[in-house]
Symmetry: C2
Subunit: 144 residues, 2 copies
C-alpha cells in the first residue's frame, strides 16, 4: 500500500467534502428564496454592486463564463436579473437586478447568521475559524 494515497491523509478530500456539506446546509435556507448556492453567490455580488458585466462577476467568483452564463440565464428566467447588451462595448453583457432580485436581499439577510451557527459548536472557536480562513486564502492564492 502506498501510504500517501490513504484517504485520511488527504487535505483535498476534506475540502471537497466540506464544500459539499456546506452547500447542503445552505439548501434549506435558500430554497424558500428560490435560490441555489451558486445563484446566491451571484446575488451577493450584485447586492454589493448592481449592474456588473458578466466578466466581472466571473472574476469575482473565480468561475468561467461556461459555468456562469447558464446560471445567469436561469436567474433571468426566474426574474431575478436582466441581461442587456453593453452600449460602449457590444460584446459585453450587463447583468442588473430586477425589483424582485433587489427585494430578495431583505429575505436573505439572516442566512449568514443561521449558517455560522453550524460551526460555532463547543469544539470550534473563533481563532481556529480565523486561522482556517487565512489558510484557505493562501491555498487559493497558490492554486490560482
Amino acid at each position: 500500500m502506498h501510504e500517501q494515497l490513504k484517504l485520511g491523509n488527504q487535505l483535498c478530500f476534506r475540502l471537497y467534502t466540506a464544500s459539499r456539506l456546506i452547500t447542503q446546509a445552505y439548501r434549506p435556507l435558500l430554497e424558500p428564496l428560490g435560490l441555489t448556492y451558486p445563484q446566491y453567490l451571484v446575488m451577493m455580488v450584485l447586492w454589493e454592486q448592481d449592474n456588473q458585466i458578466v466578466g466581472d462577476i466571473c472574476r469575482r467568483l473565480m468561475l468561467d463564463t461556461n459555468t456562469l452564463t447558464p446560471i445567469l440565464q436561469r436567474m433571468e428566467r426566474e426574474g431575478l436579473v436582466v441581461r442587456t447588451h453593453g452600449i460602449t462595448d457590444g460584446r459585453q453583457t450587463l447583468v442588473s437586478l430586477t425589483k424582485k432580485g433587489k427585494h430578495l436581499e431583505e429575505q436573505a439577510k439572516d442566512i449568514p447568521k443561521c449558517m455560522s451557527q453550524n460551526w460555532h459548536g463547543e469544539d470550534m472557536n473563533m481563532a481556529q475559524l480565523t486561522n482556517m480562513v487565512e489558510a484557505i486564502d493562501k491555498l487559493i492564492k497558490e492554486l490560482k
Copy 2:
C-alpha cells in the same frame, strides 16, 4: 448593505472555491490515468481495501448512491472495476478492482506528492496545514 452578506466574509465561498481549484489542479495529473477526481477517490478507497459494497464506499466518501452509482457504472465501462451482485444479501452490489484497476495504483503513487507541492509555497507552513485539516474535520463533523 447587510455587512454579513459580503462575499469576503464568507468561509463557505472560500471552501467552495478551494475545492473547485483543487479539483482543477488534479485534472492534469489524473487525465493520463483516465480518471476524474471523484473516480480517483473511489480508486483510493478500493486500493486500500478491495471488494467493497456500494454502501461502504458511499459511507467512506460521504456520498449517496445517486451520485456514486453512475460513477461506478462509468468506471465499470472503462474496465477499472466490476460490479457483482451480493451472494449473502441479494440487494448489495460488490465492487471489485480489475487487473487494470489494480495496476493503476502504481501509476498514481506520485500524485499526492505532486499535489502537495501546490501548497508548500513559502507562506504556507506545516503547522498551518495541520491546523486547517483539524479545523475542517471539526466542521465536517458539525455539518454531518
